[in-house]
Amino acid sequence: MVEVLLMTHVLFGVACMLAAVWLFVDVLQISDANIVRVRVVSWLAAAFMWVAFLAGGYWYVTFYKFDKAIILKGPWKFSHNMVMETKEHLVIMLLLLATYLPIAASEELASSKGARKLLLWVAALVALLALGMDGEGGIIAMGVKVGLLPK
């Protein structure tokens, strides 16, 4: 169950990142033909991020203490002290940015250059922050792994 929760967090986090990249590319080619798709993908990116946030948040608050204890007894203490501490707070900004995507995508994108610029920047920030979160998650998992290796 715990593993399913954690993999749900990772799966939907990656899905959010892919949706943000899709959105970025689609906005570059904006026309009346793809504007509905752009808005749907912006909602999907936000929904994926909320699922990732809630699954990861529940896991963090309920189960992370066991991993944390292993990390702090192992050689990769920085994977908690630096990486998890930053991840748990940067992800709140990522959630805000992803939530803002459908708002920015509701603009008249085909006719407003400013609206496209806004959506491109927010989508890029979502994709880059999500990629960073994914990398940080990998480092935290490695921190647990090296903490479990025989000394």
């Binding site: 948040g57 963090y60 608050v61 002290n81 630096m82 501490e85 930053t86 748990e88 707070h89 940067l90 709140i92 900004m93 959630l95 805000l96 940015l97 939530t99 803002y100 708002i103 920015a104 509701s106 603009e107 008249e108 006719s111 407003s112 250059k113 400013g114 609206a115 610029k117 806004l118 920047w121 927010v122 920030l125």
Partner: protein
């Protein structure tokens, strides 16, 4: 016909995003530096991070609504370029404060 306009809702929630991001970083520093605040946040929901997240999310939605309906419902007037500058610089500054704090300040 190409234009450069953005709606009052995008401006209102964009500014709310910028402010909430900075407040997010400030809460990190304040709670990590002050045990009383950290313990108070733990008492409210059972975990400091849950309280922290709720504060930032409520702030974002409340501020977004207020700023969208500011000036008697007309909202704020701002160019897209300026809003992009405010959002990106706020997110970058907040990110640097958080990473810098755990790298050098904690």
């Amino acid at each position: 016909m190409e234009n450069n306009t953005i709606s009052k809702r995008s401006i209102g929630f964009g500014l709310a995003l910028a402010i909430a991001s900075i407040i997010n970083a400030i809460i990190v520093v304040v709670k990590e530096r002050n045990d009383a605040i950290m313990n108070g946040m733990k008492k409210i929901t059972g975990h400091h991070w849950t309280t922290h997240s709720l504060i930032v999310l409520v702030l974002f939605f409340a501020l977004g609504g207020v700023l969208t309906l500011a000036k008697g419902g007309r909202g704020f007037d701002m160019s897209a370029g300026r809003l992009v500058g405010i959002v990106t610089s706020s997110v970058a500054a907040a990110g640097l404060i958080i990473v810098g704090f755990y790298l050098f300040g904690d």
